[in-house]
């Protein structure tokens, strides 16, 4: 499936290059904006420029990795309203796996490589971490991807129940966009809401907090508990929603 997805890149090369250019320019515009802003104020919510950059890069890494893996979700609605989801159900492959990972986006994959380099460079510039911090950073990154997977599964289930997906996935992405910056910039009660309810803070801010050695044991445990909990819940919801698939239009 992944190699087939990668081959589609070469079918519309001009479009792919323009999309890639758009993604890079969008990243750079906000990056420049952040630098101008934090240089003016010296710090943002107590974080210096390099720390703010690390939050932004980590957000972009999680966001790009999620989009690279789950691009198929964006096409799921069409399968439901046309009834072609039937064809997936009868295939000897796990339907959820196929619906989630059916299309790997090479454009996001390309952006991941320089992002990883920039994260390493920024982390070295900050030089405020140790081995445990790095391990916790990776662990919480994996946890963030698990939560992202869960949200995409919930969106799939939601699509079966309501035929709605476009805005649901975009709302997810808009909320995640709040994690471009340290979650501490938001005032209470919004901060708690976007940390534990949505949970942008757990996904985007906690990994960086772990690397900077400012995460509390309580937040670390909450983060892992939330990841496992929402993943379990998403699987239950997916199984529940499958029962309501009506195979309309097929």
């Amino acid at each position: 499936m992944s190699s087939a997805s990668f081959e589609t890149f070469f079918i519309s090369r001009v479009g792919a290059v323009l999309f890639l250019a758009g993604k890079v320019i969008r990243f750079l515009f906000f990056f420049v904006f952040l630098i101008i802003l934090v240089r003016q104020t010296k710090a943002l919510a107590g974080y210096d420029l390099w720390q703010v950059i690390l939050f932004y890069l980590t957000f972009n890494f999680i966001d790009s990795a999620t989009q690279m893996l789950f691009r198929e979700v964006y096409q799921f609605r069409q399968k439901i309203i046309s009834g072609s989801f039937d064809l997936l159900l009868v295939k000897p492959i796990n339907t959820l796996f196929r619906s989630l990972f059916g299309w790997t986006d090479i454009l996001d994959f390309i952006t991941l490589i320089p992002l990883i380099g920039m994260i390493i460079y920024t982390a070295v510039r900050i030089s405020k971490f140790n081995v445990i911090g790095i391990l916790l950073y990776f662990l919480l990154l994996a946890n963030s991807l698990l939560i992202a997977t869960s949200f995409h599964i919930i969106v799939l289930g939601f699509a079966i129940l309501t035929s709605e997906i476009d805005h649901a996935i975009m709302i997810y992405r808009d909320f995640m966009g709040m994690g471009k910056l340290p979650i501490n910039i938001y005032a209470e009660p919004l901060r708690s809401f976007v940390t534990f309810i949505i949970p942008v803070g757990i996904m985007m801010s906690f990994p960086v907090d772990a690397l900077l050695r400012i995460i509390t044991v309580q937040n670390f445990m909450i983060s892992l508990g939330f990841g496992i909990g929402i993943f379990t819940l998403s699987i239950v919801f997916w199984r529940h929603s499958l029962k309501y698939y009506t195979s309309a239009s097929s």
């Binding site: 479009g15 758009g22 515009f29 904006f33 003016q40 943002l44 919510a45 975009m170 709302i171």
Partner: protein, 264 residues
């Protein structure tokens, strides 16, 4: 005229037909306001003035900017590109309607819906968040602001239609639009006010049409334009509207010659 009013009415009803879709779309708009608002609020916690703007001027700029963006950048013209690519344009060509007026009616409907809900949402958020913002009370500035918003909506309609006409020659219709929108967002002043740039860059930006989509109406709202700047701004906006209108019609005529009704 009556048939275009019908198009306008039907487009509004289309929005309201998919209510869950509509509700979620509005939630997205609110999230967008919250992100930008809290970012700037946090920035001003440590500094009284940022990029030459005081807190109330900047907060006014970003709140009005978000409201304006959702009105001016809302468009139905992306449908034109798909209609060309799928051959559905043929349905319009055989009907006794003017294609541009038809699309303008769809566009107007989109803007009416966006304008209504954006204003209500902004009003509610201002009531809840109580930001220190500037409420413009000078009727002259308000009338000029309204005129600038109408002109910038026409300008964006033309730009967006021209982008959709790429469909006559290529199937790559989404990528150029995506790239273009990112550039327009930056160059129109949605990231930060354009007058923070060095003089030479700012003067160059004033020659482009994008400055007049968001930044120029906002400066009028803030009451920060003198007579000369007003004259220059409206003159340049009108120049681009006329120039792009001619270019849009030229592309349409050229495009029709290339159109093969492929897909029908």
């Amino acid at each position: 005229m009556k048939k275009y009013l019908c198009v306008l009415k039907n487009t509004i009803l289309e929005f309201l037909a998919y209510r869950l879709n509509f509700l979620m779309w509005r939630v997205r708009a609110i999230v967008s306001i919250l992100i930008t608002y809290f970012l700037w609020k946090s920035v001003f916690m440590t500094s009284g003035t940022v990029l030459g703007y005081s807190e109330n001027r900047m907060l006014t700029y970003i709140i009005v900017m978000i409201t304006l963006s959702s009105i001016i950048f809302s468009t139905q013209t992306q449908r034109v590109a798909s209609e060309i690519n799928q051959g559905n344009l043929s349905n319009f060509l055989i009907r006794p309607i003017n294609f541009f007026k038809f699309n303008f009616a769809r566009e107007a409907a989109d803007k009416i819906v966006n304008c209504f809900f954006s204003l209500v949402e902004t009003f509610l958020l201002v009531l809840i968040l109580k930001p220190s913002i500037i409420i413009q009370t000078d009727v002259n500035y308000l009338l000029l602001f309204l005129t600038a918003v109408i002109l910038s909506s026409i300008l964006y309609f033309e730009i967006s239609m021209i982008l959709s006409f790429i469909g006559f020659w290529s199937h790559e219709i989404w990528a150029p639009r995506f790239l273009f929108f990112i550039l327009v967002s930056f160059l129109s002043g949605t990231y930060f006010p354009l007058d923070i740039f060095p003089g030479i860059i700012y003067n160059f930006l004033k020659l482009l049409p994008f400055t007049y989509l968001i930044f120029f109406p906002l400066k009028i709202y803030l009451g920060e334009v003198n007579f000369w700047q007003l004259w220059y701004g409206f003159f340049t906006t009108m120049f681009w509207i006329i120039y792009l209108l001619i270019f849009m019609v030229f592309l349409w005529k050229k495009g029709l010659k290339a159109y093969t009704s492929e897909g029908r």
